[in-house]
Subunit: 197 residues, 2 copies
DNA sequence: TTGATTAGTGTACGTTCGTACACTAAAATG
DNA sequence: CATTTTAGTGTACGAACGTACACTAATCAA
């Protein structure tokens, strides 16, 4: 039909640029980046990438990346024989983990897990939880609550029409907490740990 | 001395905007966002945020966020009586998730945990592990190994002078793997999950 | 080989953006 | 209360940006 489509290759360059600068460049600099001599070429490319769902426009018509822009090959098991490289394809530029875990920076804070009361849901002592500061939580949410001047991480449950805080450790035999007064400080939206020494 | 400094508050709005759009807005839209009536105010604010190290300029003089822009406060428990705000808002330290979890982006990739064979060390099905690609691992490391064309996450142990792969699930009764040939693909340096619906 | 199709070129133009500059407003200090 | 300092206002202007449009180049299918 027509010319060969080099868009994937060009997208890769754009993704690298974004990884370095955290910014979609102007058509001019994108043209320079890709070796185009007319910035219209960059404009057309961007149009195609928009249609393909890699870029979108903000309310004020500026260019911004979409979630798809950040999709990276994750390692996938099973792997084809003798080809672990292909399955991994280590991306030189990784999506920012911050983007994955933090949606509203202004109300987000981190907290360290103390003790093993939430071990059944994979929250080990020393793990860091990502918390969004708000009072409204839903039943089933893991929340940060203020109890006797201590910040506690527990699952919010409902018992006989009352809210209670449930530890997640069958072996540890922790009691469900049914305080008279309880203040929800934040909702846990994620967690992480580092195995680095 | 002078007017109260509302920069932290304004920075928070900018950070939220960035989290939504992955883009630093123009001075005009930033002014609208913050309720400024002159875009010069936004320009001045941005200048201050540059000096403070939250923003920088790309080679073509466009505005981009710095690593510090992505730092989050870490709450400290226990809390002083009735003062949960202070523990969060006046944090001991600020940290960026990327800096914490990814030290060498070029050899780092992500992988999703399948199954519950590592549940005792807090790796639940669906969790994402951060892996650094390298062959040299130490005993006790959690590693990604290639076994029968499958990528497996296990703990590397030494048994009678031989290396072996140990699952971490006492209840599940998984066997220790003692393959004739085993290839270490990567070392797990971190893990995370999101509780978001 | 020809025709259809799509990528990139070159130029022109209106709009928006960033910056400069003089000015006003609000707080803290002495 | 006066002084000092810094945040925000208002206006103006050149430069950069995005877009439009006509044109050329490269590939594939018939």
């Amino acid at each position: 039909m027509a010319r060969p489509n080099r868009d994937p290759e060009h997208l890769a360059v754009l993704q690298d640029y974004y990884a370095r600068h955290r910014l979609i460049p102007s058509y001019s600099t994108l043209s320079t980046l890709l070796g185009f001599r007319a910035k219209t070429a960059a404009a057309r490319l961007v149009g195609r990438l928009e249609v393909a769902g890699y870029l979108k426009r903000t309310p004020d018509r500026r260019l911004a990346p979409t979630p798809r822009f950040f999709e990276r090959p994750r390692a996938i098991a099973p792997v084809r024989a003798g080809m672990p490289e292909a399955a991994i394809d280590a991306p030189a530029d990784m999506e920012s983990l911050d983007a994955l875990l933090v949606r509203r920076p202004s109300i987000t804070f981190l907290m360290t897990i103390k003790g093993d009361s939430m071990i059944d849901v994979g929250l080990m002592p020393g793990d860091t939880v990502v918390c969004e500061r708000r009072q409204l939580a839903e039943v089933g949410d893991i929340v940060v609550a203020l109890l006797a001047d201590e910040l506690t991480v527990k699952t919010l449950i409902r018992e006989n029409g009352r809210f209670a805080l449930k530890p997640e450790n069958k072996a540890g035999d922790y009691p469900v907490l049914r305080p008279d007064a309880m203040q929800i400080i934040a909702v846990v939206t994620g967690s992480f740990r580092s195995y680095r020494r």
